[in-house]
C-alpha cells in the first residue's frame, strides 16, 4: 500500500499502478474524510467515486463492476462510474473524483467533480 501526503488539493496524488486494481474490480483509497473507491473496467478505464452508495451508504468498492457501472453489494443499485448517478428507477448520485493514468500510474485528485 502506498501512503501519500496531501498538501495541495489541486495536485494529483499518485495512488498505485493500474495492475494493482483488478479488471472489473475496485480498490479502496482510505482517507480520513471518507473512503474513495477506484474502479477499473474490463477495458482498463479507471474511475473514482466516493465509496458510499447514494442509497444507504453501502461500500461501492465491494460491488460487481460491469460495463461502466457498479452494482452496489447491499441492495443492488446500479451506479454509473462516469457520472456517479444511480440508474433509473433509483435516484441518487455518488461523489466523483478525477483520476488519470499516466504510464500505468494512477493518480487521483480530491477536487470533487
Amino acid at each position: 500500500m502506498q501512503t501519500a501526503t496531501m498538501t495541495d488539493a489541486e495536485t494529483w496524488i499518485s495512488i498505485g499502478r493500474i495492475e494493482d486494481i483488478p479488471r472489473q474490480g475496485a480498490r479502496v483509497v482510505t482517507i480520513s474524510t471518507g473512503d474513495i473507491a477506484v474502479f477499473r473496467t474490463a477495458d482498463d478505464e479507471v474511475f473514482a467515486l466516493a465509496d458510499k452508495c447514494p442509497h444507504k451508504g453501502g461500500p461501492l468498492s465491494q460491488g460487481i463492476v460491469h460495463g461502466k457501472r457498479v452494482t452496489c453489494p447491499m441492495h443492488d443499485w446500479k451506479i454509473n462510474l462516469e457520472t456517479g448517478l444511480a440508474a433509473a428507477p433509483d435516484e441518487g448520485c455518488a461523489a466523483r473524483y478525477p483520476v488519470r493514468v499516466v504510464d500505468g500510474m494512477v493518480s487521483l485528485s480530491l477536487m470533487v467533480e
Binding site: Q2, T5, I13, V28, S32, Q62, I64, H66, G67
Partner: protein
C-alpha cells in the same frame, strides 16, 4: 354363449344401435380388450359421428365449436373397420332372425346386439308444446336451433331449473338473449343442492343477468303472430314473452325400439349386472338402461357400464356392474358447484356446515357413523374430488373431523400450491370423475408415454376429456410429474437483460460447444453487453465451474462480495466469520481457539447461529486473513456461511445419547458434511440428519434431509425454511449409510447440473417434478452412480479451504487498501 351361428372363417357380427357416448365408449373398451373379434356395424339417427354431448353447453355458450367436440371422427370408424350408418334410425329388431332394420330399409344381421339409444328430452304435455321455437336440449340440432333463435329472438324462457336448464340459460344469456328460468320447485337444483347453496347459486346467476320464476307452473305455450311460440302462460293466467322455449324438465329413456322387440322395460331397458337384457344376445348400456331400478343420467356411471359390457363382449366374462355413486358439477363458467351422495342428510346423520355468504362460499358435509356420505359445496370446489374419494372409499374420518371442512390443503402445510394438493393424493384417487381415471393412471401415462400437454393426456387417458371440470387437477398433475416442461410452450425466460437465451440454453451451449471461459461464452451466445451484468456474470461463472471443474479458473470479479471475501458483508461494511463445525459438534479445544481469536481481534459480538455453529460478527475486512490464519492453525475451515454453496449439516444427537435415537445421526451428519463441504451450488444448500421421526434436526425443511428410522434412512429433498416454507418430498428409503451418501451425492450433483442459478432445491423440484428426480437418483442405479461419480470428481478440486489459501496470501489485494491518503 356360443357363436356357432357365424359362418366358419368369418367373424361374429356385433351391431350397435345409438351412436352416442355410452355405446361408443363400449366399442372403444372392446377394441382395447379384444380388437378384431367382431365385424362391427353402428347405426345412429343423428347425422354426426360420435360427439361429446356434455360439451353442448359450452357450444351453446359460444366457448367451443361443434368440430371441437367430436370424439370419434369418421376416419376413426374407418380405421377400426367399423361400418357406420349415420342419419338412420333403427325401427325394428327381429330377434328371431337376429336382424335390425333402419327407417330407410337398411338391414344388418347380428350375433350380438348392443342397444345404446340414450334418452330424449321430456316435453311437457301442454298446449303449444309442438310450436316452432320450442326445443329440448339434447343434441346438436337443438343447439343449432337455439343459436339461430338467439340471433332472431329477444326473449328466451327455459323451463326447468336443473343442471341442463341452468346451462341452457347461461348459454343463451351469453348469446345475448333475455333469459328467464321457470322452475316448479322452490329452489334450484333441488336434486343436487340444499337450500342455502341453491340460494347462493341463484344469486350469482342473477348477477349474470338471468331471471328466475320459482314455484311457477307452466300451463300453455301461446303462439305469436308468425305462428311460432310467442309467450309462456302460467297457471295463474300471467304470461311472459318467449321467442324461444327450452324444455329442460327431464329426460326419458329411448326404449320404444326395445319395447317393440319385446324386451322387458320399466323406466328404462332392464339389464342385469353384466349389462345383458332379458335376451342374452342383446346388451344395453347408457341412459336408456335401468340397472337395479336406477337409470343414470351422467357419463361417469355410463362409462363404468361400458367397461363391464365390453368385458363381456370380449368374452372375458368377469366384470360386474353393481351401480355407481355419482357426483355433479355445473358447467357454468365462473360458478363452482359440487355435490355428491346424500347431501340432504336426515335421520342418523350429522352435518358439518361452513357458510360465508359474503364470500359466496358454502360447504356442507353429511356424516354418518364417522363416514362421509354426502357433500354439497358451492364456491371453492377444489376439494370436491377429495371429498368424493373419502365418500366412495368409506374412509373413517374421525381423525379429520376438526379440519375436514377446510379441505385437504389444511391437512398439509402453508405455502403449498395446487400441485402439492394433487401430489398428496394417493395413486388410487380418482381425478376424472367422468371417465373414472385415477391419479396413478395419469401419472404413469405422463411418464411412460412422455406426455407434455393437456391434449396429450386427454388423448391417452381420457382424463379431463369429457366435462373438463378436472382440467385444473390434470394440469397440476402434469406440472407435478414433468415439472416446468409441461405445456406446449416451455418457458423461455432469458437469463437477464444481456441475452435472449434462457438458463437452460446457456448451460446446454456451454457443454455442447465446449465453451470454457466467460468471454468465449458471451461471444458465442452473442451477449448484448460487453461484459455482462451483476446477474449473469455470477451465473455464468457458476455454470462454467460446474461444467468444467478441472479446467475452469474461477473469476473472483464475477462473484458477489461475500464469496469474493469469504465472509458475510454486514450493514457497516464489516464481515462475519463462521468456521465450520462438522455436524454441529465441537469440543473444548475448538471453543478455546475460537474464544482466543475473538479476543485477539476484538470481535464485538458472537452468536450461535441457526445452523448449529458460531458466528463472529463485525470483523474488519483487513483483519480477515490474519484471523483465518489463527483459525486454520486450530484446524478450522471456512463454514461457507456466505456462499451459494453447501452451508451446514444440522444433526441431532441420535443413538449416541438420545433414548429415542435409532441411528448415529450425528456421525452420519459429519460424514455427509465431509463429503459435501466446499461444493459450489446454484444456491445455498442445507442438509440435516435426525435420529428418529421426532425430527429434532428439522430434516424435512432442508434441501436434503435424512430421517433415521429403525429399518434405515428416509431421504427427503427439496425442503425450504426461509421465505416460503416448503416441506420436503420423500425421495426414497434406503438401508445403509453408504446408500445415503451415494443418493446424497447423486441428488446434489443433479441439482448442481440442472438448476438455474439462484434457484434453491425447493423451486427446482417443483419446476422439474419429483418424478424426474426419482427417475435419475432412485430408479436407475447406473445414472445415480454416474451422477455421484461426477460429484466426487468435482469435489477433488472444490475441497480446498479458501481461508487457508488467503491466510497464506492469496488474493491479498482484496483485503488491503490501494493507498492511504493522510491529510495534513
Amino acid at each position: 354363449m356360443d357363436m356357432s351361428t357365424a359362418p366358419a372363417g368369418s367373424k361374429p357380427k356385433l351391431v350397435m344401435v345409438g351412436n352416442g357416448m355410452a355405446g361408443m365408449r363400449t366399442l372403444e373398451e372392446l377394441l382395447k380388450a379384444a380388437s378384431g373379434l367382431y365385424d362391427v356395424t353402428v347405426f345412429g339417427d343423428e347425422p354426426h359421428p360420435n360427439y361429446n354431448r356434455i360439451m353442448l353447453s359450452p357450444v351453446l355458450a359460444g366457448e367451443q365449436s361443434v368440430e371441437q367436440i367430436v370424439l370419434n371422427s369418421r376416419d376413426w370408424y374407418a380405421e377400426n373397420g367399423i361400418t357406420l350408418f349415420t342419419g338412420r334410425k333403427v325401427v325394428k329388431v327381429d330377434r328371431r332372425t337376429r336382424c335390425v332394420e333402419a327407417d330407410d330399409g337398411t338391414r344388418a344381421p347380428y350375433d350380438r346386439l348392443l342397444l345404446a339409444t340414450g334418452s330424449k328430452s321430456f316435453v311437457l304435455p301442454i298446449p303449444g308444446a309442438n310450436l316452432p321455437g320450442v326445443v329440448g336440449f339434447r343434441d346438436i340440432a337443438d343447439v343449432e336451433a337455439m343459436i339461430r333463435a338467439a340471433s332472431e329472438q329477444r326473449h328466451a324462457v327455459v323451463i326447468g331449473g336443473g343442471l341442463l336448464g341452468l346451462e341452457a340459460a347461461h348459454g343463451l344469456k351469453r348469446r345475448g338473449m333475455e333469459v328467464t328460468v321457470v322452475h316448479l320447485g322452490a329452489t334450484l337444483l333441488e336434486r343436487q343442492l340444499d337450500e342455502p347453496a341453491a340460494r347462493l347459486l341463484q344469486r350469482s346467476l342473477e348477477a349474470k343477468g338471468i331471471r328466475f320464476l320459482l314455484q311457477a307452473q307452466t300451463a300453455a305455450l301461446l303462439p305469436s303472430t308468425q305462428g311460432r311460440v310467442g309467450a309462456v302462460q302460467f297457471r295463474d293466467g300471467k304470461t311472459i314473452p318467449a321467442g324461444l322455449v327450452v324444455m329442460a324438465v327431464g329426460i326419458r329413456p329411448n326404449t320404444e325400439l326395445a319395447e317393440s322387440a319385446g324386451l322387458h322395460c320399466t323406466r328404462g331397458l332392464v339389464v342385469n349386472d353384466t349389462m345383458q337384457t332379458y335376451d342374452p344376445r342383446i346388451y344395453a348400456v347408457g341412459e336408456c338402461v335401468s340397472h337395479r331400478g336406477i337409470a343414470y343420467g351422467l357419463v361417469a356411471p355410463l362409462f363404468e357400464q361400458a367397461k363391464v359390457c365390453a368385458n363381456h363382449l370380449a368374452e372375458h366374462g368377469v366384470a360386474r356392474y353393481t351401480g355407481s355413486l355419482t357426483s355433479t358439477k355445473l358447467k357454468v363458467s365462473g360458478i363452482d358447484l359440487f355435490s355428491a351422495g346424500d347431501f340432504a342428510g336426515g335421520e342418523g346423520t350429522e352435518s358439518l356446515v361452513y357458510s360465508d355468504a359474503a364470500a359466496g362460499t358454502y360447504k356442507k358435509l353429511v356424516i354418518k357413523g364417522n363416514r362421509l356420505v354426502g357433500a354439497c359445496i358451492y364456491g371453492d370446489t377444489l376439494d370436491g374430488a377429495w371429498y368424493f374419494d373419502l365418500l366412495r372409499e368409506g374412509t373413517d374420518i374421525s381423525q379429520l373431523r376438526k379440519t375436514i371442512l377446510f379441505g385437504q390443503s389444511h391437512l398439509g402445510d402453508s405455502g403449498h400450491g395446487n400441485a402439492d394438493r394433487v401430489a398428496a393424493l394417493p395413486d388410487t384417487a380418482e381425478i376424472c370423475g367422468c371417465n373414472g381415471v385415477c391419479k396413478g393412471d395419469i401419472v404413469n401415462a405422463i411418464r411412460d408415454k412422455k406426455l407434455f400437454t393437456l391434449e396429450e393426456v386427454r388423448a391417452h387417458t381420457k382424463a379431463s376429456a369429457s366435462c373438463g371440470s378436472c382440467t385444473g387437477l390434470v394440469e397440476a398433475l402434469l406440472a407435478h410429474t414433468v415439472g416446468g416442461d409441461y405445456s406446449a410452450a416451455p418457458s423461455r425466460k432469458p437469463l437477464c437483460g444481456c441475452t435472449d437465451h434462457s438458463h437452460d440454453e446457456v448451460r446446454a451451449t456451454i457443454l455442447g460447444h465446449g465453451l470454457k471461459t466467460m468471454p468465449d461464452t458471451m461471444r458465442f451466445l452473442e451477449w448484448k453487453t460487453s461484459d455482462g451484468c451483476a446477474k449473469c456474470r455470477p451465473a455464468l461463472n457458476y455454470y462454467l465451474l460446474c461444467a468444467w471443474p478441472d479446467e475452469y479458473r474461477d473469476d473472483a470479479q464475477s462473484r458477489f462480495i461475500n464469496e469474493r471475501a469469504h465472509g458475510n458483508i454486514q450493514k457497516d461494511g464489516s464481515f462475519s466469520v463462521v468456521p465450520r463445525m462438522w455436524g454441529g459438534l465441537t469440543n473444548p479445544r475448538e471453543l478455546r481457539a475460537i474464544a482466543d481469536v475473538a479476543e485477539k481481534f476484538q470481535v464485538p459480538e458472537m452468536k450461535v447461529t441457526g445452523g448449529q455453529r458460531l458466528d463472529l460478527f463485525g470483523v474488519k475486512k483487513e483483519d480477515l486473513p490474519a484471523m483465518w490464519a489463527d483459525l486454520t492453525q486450530a484446524g478450522f475451515v471456512s463454514g461457507h456461511a456466505y456462499g451459494k454453496a453447501l452451508r451446514t449439516v444440522k444433526t441431532c444427537i441420535g443413538n449416541r445419547w438420545c433414548r429415542f435415537g435409532t441411528q448415529d445421526s450425528t456421525g452420519l451428519g459429519v460424514r455427509l458434511e465431509e463429503m459435501t463441504w466446499g461444493s459450489w451450488m446454484p444456491h445455498k444448500f442445507k442438509l440435516a440428519v435426525s435420529g428418529c421421526p421426532r425430527n429434532c434436526a428439522e430434516s424435512t425443511i432442508k434441501d436434503f434431509g435424512v430421517v433415521c428410522v429403525d429399518s434405515g434412512y428416509e431421504l427427503h429433498i427439496g425442503g425450504n425454511g426461509g421465505i416460503k416454507v416448503r416441506i420436503t418430498d420423500l425421495l426414497c428409503k434406503v438401508e445403509t449409510e453408504a446408500e445415503v451418501l451415494e443418493h446424497c451425492a447423486a441428488f446434489t450433483q443433479l441439482y448442481r447440473e440442472e438448476a438455474h442459478y439462484l434457484e434453491r432445491t425447493a423451486p427446482w423440484v417443483e419446476r422439474v417434478g419429483l418424478a424426474h428426480i426419482k427417475a435419475k437418483v432412485v430408479d436407475d442405479a447406473t445414472t445415480r452412480k454416474t451422477l455421484a461419480g461426477r460429484f466426487h470428481r468435482a469435489q477433488q478440486t472444490a475441497q480446498t479451504d479458501p481461508w487457508a489459501a488467503r491466510a497464506e496470501g492469496d488474493e491479498a489485494h482484496e483485503f488491503t487498501a490501494l493507498a492511504e491518503i493522510v491529510c495534513e
